[in-house]
């Protein structure tokens, strides 16, 4: 089974319901898209993330009503350095879509989704703990896994695997 190349052209992908809905709402909020290995990725501008998620959650066509996962990837030393990754699931349509927000290292801040899905709470705390991304509007943004007085964010790429000795 050979891998098909990834499609990144917005024109070719706009038939996908989630992307079509977002483009119809606010074309400037979508900064890119990718269809690779049967998975859809949509890049969202950071200032529109919460509204885009609210739209996908409540829309009658898309119904991405379940937030599966929030995580982050550190592309150090490239800029923008961080990609915060959201996996949404539609329980009725059995479909997934991945949303991504790119953040630069100078201000790794993005709006929290806890007002839409209270379940984002722990996921965002984990990302804050391990990557140092701040989520505005989060009710309790404290470290989740590491001790309260820990220094640094262990999953960043400039943090050594064996830790600081």
């Amino acid at each position: 089974m050979a891998l098909a190349p990834a499609i990144t052209d917005l024109e070719q992908l706009k038939g996908h319901p989630a992307l079509a809905r977002l483009l119809a709402w606010n074309a400037s909020a979508v900064t890119g898209a990718k269809f690779d290995r049967d998975e859809m990725t949509i890049y969202i501008d950071r200032s529109n993330l919460r509204e885009a998620c609210a739209l996908l959650r409540d829309d009658a066509e898309c119904t991405f009503n379940y937030l599966s996962d929030v995580t982050c990837v550190d592309w150090y030393p490239a800029e923008p350095r961080f990609e915060v990754v959201y996996h949404l699931l539609s329980i009725s349509k059995k479909e997934r879509v991945r949303l991504k927000v790119r953040l630069d290292s100078a201000s790794p801040v993005v709006e929290s989704l806890t007002s839409l899905w209270p379940g984002a709470n722990y996921f965002e705390r984990e990302v804050f703990d391990l990557f140092g991304i701040r989520f505005t509007g989060h009710p309790y943004l404290r470290r989740l896994l590491m001790p309260e007085d820990w220094e640094g964010h262990p999953l960043r790429k400039d943090y050594p695997v064996e830790g600081y000795r």
Binding site: M1, A2, L3, A6, D36, R37, E39, T41, N65, Y66, L67, S68, D69, T71, V73, D74, V85, H87, I91, K94, R96, R98, W117, P118, G119, A120, N121, Y122, F123, E126, L130, R143, L144, L145, M146, P147, P154, L155, Y159, V161
Partner: protein
């Protein structure tokens, strides 16, 4: 008053610490505190070759090692675009369902023991022992099996393995009857579980609950049926859903799942295809021992895979499987080298644990124990 429960408390199933703000016997606020078992597995994965990550995935959730193995190898196979032979797929389904039975038995035994029914624990562990012996037979390990490999399985199932599984699957339904005779109609059990720790379907979805915790609230979703992987579309099984949204509903879902898993095990045994257990991908799958002794290429491939791994085309995938606890997802990012750039595990328990405040606030302290048991947490998976 603030009451501290755990991390060394037998009913918190590991090292969960819960802070309870109480007014008399009633809970005003409940705050889970986690992280005591954090080992940095996600960071460790970034320093390993792809094939070296498989044993790490066992350690995440020590009650369902095969499910984690499966989610990881499926994700890497998706990145590579590998086709898996049918026998390997069916073996994976078979082992996964045995793992589900194993995990549910531990849950049932400890959950009942928390609430005060000690006998069930002994009965459940009797059957679990048999499953662990089968795991040992097939992989050499009772708990940390690491039986699946990228591209297939580690070993051919040994002689007599299928007969042993068939014998177990034949008598297991009677054993489930035995557990149910002790619990389902038991008035004490019903009083402790019915109407306790309510969680509405809307709350369950909003909080990201999955698995029996979600299905116990009447949401009908099971990834094995709805987004099939590893050949699950070839199996016929029912997805138990209960509408009552309480501890008893989640109990009934899991007990019915025990029976359904047993049916899948029987179907897998009956339809087990013949053929190879590894994909035909010389640079990725380790060659057979015999070939290494006679063919130079096999020896070279073996040396190269062990010493420098294999490159995985750049890209990213999210592969979720239905673990005994819910949606276990692996998000893997590859940058085209032999080591994963990022491995993230979406732990079902982490999201399920968030439902605890909704279940417990305004209720009695004794119900906290029932609620924690009913979401079936494994702290290794939560803390990673």
């Amino acid at each position: 008053m603030i009451l501290n429960m755990g991390p060394q408390h037998p009913s918190t199933h590991g090292v969960l610490r819960v802070l309870l703000e109480i007014d008399g016997e009633t809970i005003v606020r409940i705050m889970p505190d986690i992280g005591f078992l954090h080992t940095g597995i996600e960071k460790t994965c970034e320093a390993k070759f792809y094939q070296q990550v498989v044993p790490l995935t066992d350690r995440i959730d020590y009650l369902c090692p095969m499910t984690n193995n499966l989610a990881y190898v499926l994700a890497v196979e998706k990145l590579l675009g590998l086709e898996i032979p049918p026998k390997a797929q069916w073996m994976r389904v078979l082992m996964n369902e045995l793992t589900r039975i194993n995990s549910h038995l531990v849950w049932l035994g400890t959950h009942a023991m928390d609430i005060g029914a000690l006998t069930v624990f002994l009965y459940c562990f009797r059957e679990r022992e048999e499953i662990l012996n089968m795991f040992e037979m097939i992989s050499g390990q009772r708990m940390m099996t690491s039986y699946f490999r990228i591209g297939g399985l580690a070993l051919e199932p040994p002689l007599g393995f299928f007969e042993r599984v068939r014998e177990f699957a034949g008598r297991f339904p009677d054993k489930v009857d035995e557990y149910e005779n002790l619990l389902t109609g038991n008035p004490i059990w019903m009083m402790r579980t019915k109407g306790v720790a309510q969680l509405s379907a809307e709350d369950a979805i909003a909080l990201g609950a999955s698995g029996p915790t979600l299905r116990g609230s009447g949401v009908d979703i099971d990834l094995r049926r709805d987004m099939p992987y590893s050949g699950y579309e070839n199996f016929k099984f029912k997805v138990p859903v209960a509408q009552e949204c309480d501890v008893f509903a989640r109990y009934m879902c899991r007990v019915r799942e025990l029976r359904e898993s047993n049916e899948i095990v029987k179907q897998a045994l009956d339809g087990m295809p013949e053929g190879p257990i590894k994909a035909d991908a010389p640079g990725i799958v380790l060659p057979d021992r015999e070939k290494m002794k006679t063919q130079m290429e096999a020896l070279i491939y073996h040396f190269k895979i062990i010493t420098e791994g294999f490159a995985v085309p750049a890209g990213e995938v999210y592969q979720a499987v239905e673990s005994p606890r819910g949606e276990m997802g692996y998000y893997i990012v590859s940058d085209g080298t032999a080591k994963p750039y990022r491995v993230h595990m979406r732990a079902a328990c982490l999201a399920n644990l968030q439902t605890l405040p909704k279940m417990c606030e305004g209720r009695l302290i004794a119900d906290v124990v029932a609620a924690i048991g009913s979401i079936d947490i494994v702290l290794g998976e939560i803390d990673r």
